[in-house]
Amino acid sequence: MKLGYFPGCSLKGMARAYDESTKIVAEGFGIELMEVDDFNCCGALEAKGSNEKLSYMLPARVMDSAKGRFHVDAVVTPCNGCYHSLLRTNAAMNENANAKSDVISFLKDVGYGSYEGDLDVRHFLELFYNEVGPEKVKNAVKKSLKGLKVASYYGCLYERPKTITKTGYKSNRDDSENPYFQDELLAATGAEVVKFDAAASCCGGAHALQDESLSATLSATILSAAKKAGADILALPCPLCGAALDIKQPEIVKVHGNDAKIPVVYFTQLIGLAMGKSAKDLKLTDPISNPMEVLKSKGLV
C-alpha cells in the first residue's frame, strides 16, 4: 500500500514538532510516507461556514493531487481538522450528486485529474494503531517511559461525527465515545496512562481567537482534569488542540491558576522517546508548556 502524507498547514508552522516526530515514528516502524508536497489548506472550519462548494473543492484538490500526481492508495494526516475536511468532502461526493459534479467540473477547469471521492483517508493515530499496534511498539521500546504518568487526550474531530468518520461502520475506527487507541499505544511505551474523564472533551480551539475567554475556560477544564487525575504530562494527536492547550497555556494559567499548568506534547513525541530517539530530533524543546523539565526529573532525557 502506497501512503500519501498530508501534513496540513499547522504542521509546517507552529506544530513542527508533530510533523517531525510523526516522520521519525513512521520511519522507525517501516511505514513509508510519501509527502504530498504541493498541498493546499483544507479549508478547516472556516470554508464550510463560508461557502459549501468551496469547502469541498479545497480538500478535493489535495486528494486529486495525492491520487493523480503521487499515485497513492490512501492519504494519511496527523491533523484532526484536515482529517475532518477530507472525510467530509468524500462523504459529500458519495452522497450528493451535485457536490460531486461541482467538484469534478472545478478540477477539470483548473486542469487537474478526475477525482471521484474514492481515496481512503486515514488519521495517523488510527493508521499507526492498526498497522503497527501496541504489541510491536512494546517490542521496539529501547527506553521505557516507566514512571511517567500520561493523560491521553484525543480532541473532537478524530472520531466525530460518525456521519463522515463512519465510526461503528468501518472496522479500523476507534470508539467514538471512549477512544482508546492512543491509550494503548502510550501504555506500550511503559508509561502509566491515567484515567481521565476529559479525553474526548472539546478544547475550544476553534474559537481560540474569536472567543478567547470561553476557549480558555474549556481548555482549562481539560488541563486541570488531567492534573487532578495525577498526570505528569498530557499527550494528544491534534495540532489545533496543541495550539489551544500548549501555546495558549501561559494565558490560561494567568486566569485559571496553576491547576491548569501541565506540560503538553504530541503522542508521537513520547513514542519516539521510547524508541530511543533524541529529545532534540523529536523537538521536545518546542512546546511552550516545557515538557523537558518533567522528562528530565524522570530521567528520560
Partner: protein
Amino acid sequence: MAENTDKMVIDGVELVGIWKEFMPSRILYEDVTTEFLDEVKKLPGGSTIARCYQCGTCTGGCTLPEFVDKFNPRGFINLVRRGHYDILVSDYKDLVWKCVSCNRCTHRCPKGVNTQEVVRAIAKFLEDRKVFGKLTNDEAFDEIFMDEVLTDGRIDEVKIVKDFYSKTGRLKDMMSGDQLSLGFKMFTSGRIKLFGGKIKDWKKVSQRLKEELQ
C-alpha cells in the same frame, strides 16, 4: 380544555372523561411562517435543518450549556422553524455564534441533522441580516482565513493572528509582553518563517475558487 360531561366508572373509581380528548397541539399552526426556515436551508450547512424532530439529543450532549447559560441548539432550530425571528434576535443572538464545533450534536443526532453546521448557518443568517450592528469576531476571522487561503493556498498562523487583531482593532493586545516573548521563542526556534512555501499552480486554482465566491 373543554368541559367534558362523560362519566366513566372502572373498578368503582369514577374517571372524568377527558381521556377521550386529544392533547392540545404544541405547535399552533397559524403561528408558523417558513420564511426563515427556507432562508437558513439555503445557507452553507443549513440544508438538513428540517429533519429535526426536536428530541433534544444535541443539546443534552452539547459542550456549551455547562459554560454558557441558555445555549440551546434544539431551541435555536425550533425558533427558526416556527418563524420566531424576534425571539431569536432578542434572546439568543449573542449565544448562537458561540458554538465551538465539537460536533457531538451531529455525531449523536438520530435524524441525520448536521446540527453543528445548522447552528453555524443560523449564526450566518443573523450576520447576513446585520443584527449585530458590527463585524463579529467570527465573520472577521472567516474573512481573513478565506482571504489568506485564496491568496497563498496555505495558512500562515502568525499572519492570521496579526491580521485578526488588526481587523478587530486590538493590535495593541498583540504587543503585550507575553505575546512578544511568545513570538520571540517561536522565531528563534525557527517556527516562524518569513517566506512561506508557495504552491506552483495556485494562481489558476485561486482564480477559479474566487469565481465561486461571487
